[in-house]
Symmetry: none
Subunit: 217 residues, 4 copies
DNA sequence: AATGAATGAGAGTTCATTCAT
DNA sequence: AATGAATGAACTCTCATTCAT
C-alpha cells in the first residue's frame, strides 16, 4: 500500500549543493515531460536525466507527485513573475488602460509560447491531484491584485467592483491565451488574436473610446 | 511504450443489449471517477461497478483509455447539447443579446454544476492523451457556430468579425464558468458571478446600452 | 500481438552479483520446466524459485521469452561443448574413424540422458518462436566443422564432400540420439542402439572393413 | 482452474454433417497455424475461420489441445500414408534397394515440402504435450514395418537385424529430410541432398556396389 | 444442434519506493 | 550523503471455456 505523504520537499534546500540537486531534478522532470510526455516520466528516468541516483532523488522529494508539484509551482511562479513584471513596467511608464491590457495579453501569450509542449503536458496531459492547482490560483491572484490597484487608479475604468473585475480580466486573459497557444482559433494570426482579446477586456473595463464615439454625436 | 490501439469500441453497439452494456460501463467509469478519483479507476473496478465481467468490458472497449475517452466524449456532447438547446430556446423566443448571453452563461454554469466532481476529475485530475480534447473543441465550435448566426442577425452587435467574436465569447464563458464552479472567486455568489460574466460578454459585443448612457448626457 | 523486444538481457552481467542472479534465474527456469512442464513456467514462479523478486527478474531479462531463449542457449552450448570436447579428446589420442564415431554417439547420448525431462520440455513441449533454433544450428555446425577436419585427415574416409558428410553425420547422430532417449526403439538397450548407430555412420563414411571383407572373397 | 480432459473428440463423427464440421475445424486450425503461427491460433479464431461458432467448436472438441492433436494426427497420417504408398509402388515395380531408398527419401522430402510452414509450426513452434507424439511414432513404425519386410526379401541387404535397421533408416530419413526442408545445409540443392542421404542409407544397408567396386579390382 | 455473449483466473509486466552498502 | 539493486503490489489485458438462449 502506498502512503501518500505531503507533497513537500523533505529537506529545506539551504545548502548550495542541495539547491542544485533539487533544481537539477525539477529541470530534468521538465525536460522529460516536454520531450516524452507524462506517461514516460518515471522517477527513474527523471533521476537519470538529472544525473542523480534514484536514491538521491528520494532524499530530496518524498514521492513522485512532489516532484511534479514542484515543477508546476516553479513553472507557474516563473510565468506569473514575468507577467507581473510586464504589468509593473507598463504601469511604471504611466500607460493607460488600453496599453496595460495589451501588455497583459502579450505577456501571457509570450509565457505560454515559451515551452508550449511542457505547458501542454503540465496542464492537459498530466493529472492534477486535488490541491495541485493552488499555486496557479495564487499566481493569478497576485496578478489580479496588482491589476486591481491599477484599475482603481485609472479614471477610465468604470468597473463597479475592481477586485472582481481584475479577477475576471486575468482569468479570461489567461484561459484564452492558453487555449489559443495550444489549439489556435481557425487560422487566426496571433497578433490579431491579441488585438481582439485586448479589445474584449478593454470594453469590459470601459476604457473603450471607440465604442462610445457613436454615442457622442 | 505500448501501442495505442484506436480508441473505438470493438463492437458497434447496434443491438439493444450491447448498447446497454456499453452505457453501463461508461456510466460505471463516471461513478468511479467522480467518487474515488482517477487513481482508483482501474479497469477491474469499472467492470465490477458496471456489473459486468472484466472480459465483457474488453469485448466492448479495446483498452482502458478508450473507456475514459468515451466518457469524456459523452460528457462533452451531453453538456454541449444542453447549452446549444438553451441557446436555441432563447433565440426561438426572440430574445435580445443580453438575454442570450445570460442564457449562455447560466447554461454553462448549470452544466458544470451538474457533477462537479466528475467534471474536476475529467478535466483536471485525469491525464488527457494528445487528441483527447478534440471532442471538447468540436463541442465549443458547434456552440460558437450557432452563436455566430445569432450575432449576425442581431443589429445591436457591433462585432466586426462575428465568427471570431463568437469563439471568444464561448471560450471565455466556458473557461470562466469552469473555473468558477471548481475554485470560486473569493466568496462570490454564483448569481453575481453570472451577472458579471454576462456583462463582460455583452460589453464586448456592444449591446450594452447602460454603458453608453452616461456619454449621452 | 505484442511487440517482441530484443531477447537480450537488459544489463550485461559483468559484475559477479549480476552474473549470479542471471544464472539463478536461468537455473530456476530449467528446474521449473523440467519438473512442472512448460505450462507451469510462469515468470512469477521462475522468480520465486530463483529466490529473486519478479522485479529483479525483469531487471535482467526484458521478457519471458528471453529467459527461455537464454536457457535454450545455455543448454545447447553446454551440450555442444561437451560433445566437442569428447570428440577432441578422441582425436587427441589418435583414435581412428570407428572409435571417433562411437565417441560422438556416446557423447550425444550422454548429453541427452543428462536431464531428459528438461530436454523433452525444451525441444518438444516448449514453443520455439522463429529464430530460437539458431543456437542449435550453430552448435551442430561447430561439431560438424571439427568432424570435417578429422575426416579430411583420415585416410579411411571415402567421403567425396567431407563438409557435407560431416553435417549428415552430426545431424543423424543428434536426431537419432534425441529420439532414442525420449522414445526408445521397442525395448532396445542403449548400448546396442549406440553400436548400431555408430555402424550406420561408419559404413557411410567408408571406414568399414568388415563390410568390404565379403566382397574380397 | 482448468481441467485437462482427454484430448479425444467428444462425439464419434458418424454423421456426414458432423464429419464435415470436424474437418472444417481441423482445416481451419491448419490454415491459421500456417499463416499466423502458434501464438495467433486462438480457439475463437479457429472457429471463425472454420465458419463455425465457438460453441459448436466445443461441441466437437473437448478443448483446444484436442484440436491441435487432431490436426497433428491428420497431418502425420496423411504424410505417412503417402510415403507408405510411394514405398509400396516402388516395391510393386520390383525395385531394388537403391531405388527403394531413393523413393523413400524423395517421398519424405516431398511431404515436408508440401506445407513447410504448417510443418514448421507443428513440429518446432507448437508445444507438444506429453503423448502428442504417439501418432508420429505410430506412423514411422508403419513405414519401418513395411520397409523391414522389403529388406528381408532383398538379398543385397546385409542388415543383421532388419527390424532395427528399418527403424534407423526411417528415423534418419525422416529427421534429416525435416531438417533439410526447414533449415537447409549451407546452400546445398535438394537433389544433391537427396542423393547423399540415399547413399548414406544404402551404405548402411549394404547394397552399395560402388563402395565395393574398389575391392573388386 | 447451434449460437456467441459472457466469464474470470491468471498471465506478463511496470514502476514508485526502500534500504543495505 | 549517495548509490542503485532489489522489491512486490497492482496494473492492464487475454483467451480457453461455459451456458442461457
Amino acid at each position: 500500500m502506498k502512503k501518500k505523504k505531503a507533497a513537500n520537499p523533505r529537506r529545506r534546500p539551504i545548502q548550495r549543493r542541495s539547491r542544485q540537486t533539487v533544481d537539477a531534478i525539477v529541470e530534468a522532470a521538465a525536460r522529460v515531460l516536454a520531450r516524452h510526455g507524462y506517461a514516460a516520466a518515471t522517477t527513474n528516468r527523471i533521476a537519470e536525466r538529472a544525473g542523480v541516483s534514484i536514491g538521491s532523488l528520494y532524499e530530496y522529494f518524498p514521492n513522485k507527485d512532489s516532484i511534479l508539484a514542484a515543477l508546476l509551482e516553479r513553472h507557474t511562479e516563473q510565468g506569473g513573475a514575468e507577467v507581473l513584471a510586464a504589468l509593473e513596467a507598463e504601469i511604471a511608464r504611466g500607460a493607460e488602460l488600453p496599453a496595460l491590457l495589451r501588455a497583459l495579453v502579450l505577456a501571457l501569450l509570450r509565457q505560454h509560447r515559451r515551452s508550449p509542449e511542457l505547458h501542454r503536458v503540465l496542464f492537459e496531459e498530466m493529472p492534477h491531484p486535488p490541491g495541485a492547482d493552488a499555486c496557479v490560483l495564487r499566481s493569478e491572484d497576485a496578478i489580479a491584485h496588482r491589476l486591481q490597484a491599477a484599475l482603481e487608479a485609472d479614471s477610465a475604468c468604470r468597473a463597479a467592483d475592481p477586485d472582481l473585475a481584475a479577477h475576471l480580466v486575468v482569468q479570461t486573459a489567461e484561459a484564452l491565451a492558453h487555449r489559443f497557444v495550444l489549439h489556435g482559433i481557425h487560422g487566426l494570426p496571433e497578433a490579431r488574436f491579441a488585438d481582439e482579446l485586448a479589445r474584449l477586456l478593454l470594453r469590459y473595463l470601459g476604457g473603450d473610446r471607440s465604442a462610445e464615439a457613436p454615442a457622442r454625436r
